[in-house]
């Protein structure tokens, strides 16, 4: 890390620290979800009676948010739009971490850019929703607003970087690759990028300790992932088994 500017040094250290916190926290949480037993079969029925059926129903739910759709169409529209757009934005950013860039990523750039442009809309909608309905206002805490505002700021600063205050993308990619390859180089001292990058680091550090863990947790929910076959197959409770 010798020869780095002070700013680059600070951000290199921060980046590694956040990466460690993110992956450490993620592993810790997911490990907890994975190894904690289900003492009883608590599938919410009607549920598929086969493992294959459960996998299909979970894929459908995760891909379409079908249970939320059943629950509230207005929340579904905002939530689903946000998540699809977020996925597009992730895809768009992958080119900055991959070298060489796979051709497919180049092809999807226009679509992904459209996503990035739209990102603030569902976020503003979701924010307004929390304020507008008395039930949602009651359950919303500062933490719930914090996540939405943080994501909104990340989106806006990203758009600023793209359309208002350009920065040296080659330099940024070099900086990011340097971090990934454990050989940090100087970060382009561009204010818009520094703001955008700092906000992203905050989000990543916050992720494992927050409700954002729903992104991992959704794969483990016992009411959804257990097979409805308790009469046919004896479910053994790991901590009660002799």
């Amino acid at each position: 890390m010798s020869g780095l500017s002070p700013l680059s040094l600070v951000y290199a250290v921060l980046s590694y620290a956040v990466t460690a916190v993110f992956f450490g926290g993620l592993l810790h949480k997911l490990w907890g979800y994975a190894v904690t037993p289900n003492p009883l079969n608590i599938a919410t029925t009607p549920a598929p009676a086969t493992r294959g059926g459960v996998i299909v129903s979970n894929i459908v739910n995760i891909a379409t948010f079908s249970s939320l759709f059943k629950g509230n169409r207005w929340t579904w529209i905002g939530g689903y739009a946000f998540h699809v757009i977020l996925l597009a934005v992730f895809a768009r950013h992958l080119r900055l971490f991959l070298h060489p860039v796979p051709p497919l990523l180049v092809l999807i750039q226009p679509v992904a850019l459209l996503g990035a442009l739209l990102l603030p809309l569902p976020l503003i909608y979701l924010l307004a929703r929390r304020k507008a309905v008395d039930r949602y206002a009651w359950i919303s805490s500062p933490a719930d607003y914090f996540v939405l505002v943080l994501l909104l700021l990340i989106g806006l600063s990203g758009l600023g970087l793209k359309f208002v205050s350009h920065s040296d993308m080659v330099g940024i990619k070099q900086f990011l690759l340097g971090l990934v390859m454990a050989s940090p180089v100087d970060m382009p001292p561009h204010p818009a990028f520094i703001i955008h990058f700092t906000l992203v680091l905050m989000l990543a550090a916050y992720f494992p300790f927050s409700k954002l863990m729903h992104a991992g947790g959704v794969f483990f929910s016992p009411t959804r992932t257990m097979v409805d076959d308790p009469r046919e197959r004896r479910h053994v409770n790991p901590w009660a088994a002799k």
Partner: protein, 116 residues
């Protein structure tokens, strides 16, 4: 779901998220200087129309902004022309394309203009 299945899912999830980083680290090696685009030297001039640092971040502004003015609004006689770029940066493949493929960005200039 049994514990083995759950652990497999947990590991898969983390691996998926880490995949881009692992791909890059494995493909390019650790503790080596990150790859950078190698650009052909400019000919015919020693300095660009604007400082090099500014050009790295903002060259597309000149190109797209002026395109809009010239082509769409018919305003002629602007300061810079893409032909001007080509007088120094003579080989697209050794200059423009190097950075653009490095960053995975497709330039729009060559949808209309032909540069060798």
């Amino acid at each position: 779901m049994n514990a083995k299945g759950s652990i497999a899912i947990a590991i898969t999830l983390v691996a998926l998220i880490a995949a881009p980083l692992l791909y890059t680290a494995a493909g390019n090696g650790l503790f080596t200087k990150p790859p950078a685009p190698q650009l052909a030297k400019a000919v015919n001039a020693t300095e660009c129309v604007e400082p090099a640092g500014w050009m790295r971040a903002n060259h597309m502004n000149l190109l797209t902004h002026q395109r809009d003015l010239i082509v769409r609004e018919g305003e002629r006689g602007r300061k810079y022309r893409i032909e001007g770029c080509a007088t120094c940066h003579t080989k697209r493949a050794e200059f423009c394309d190097r950075c653009h493929s490095y960053a995975g960005a497709k330039p729009e200039c060559f949808d209309c203009h032909y540069l060798p």
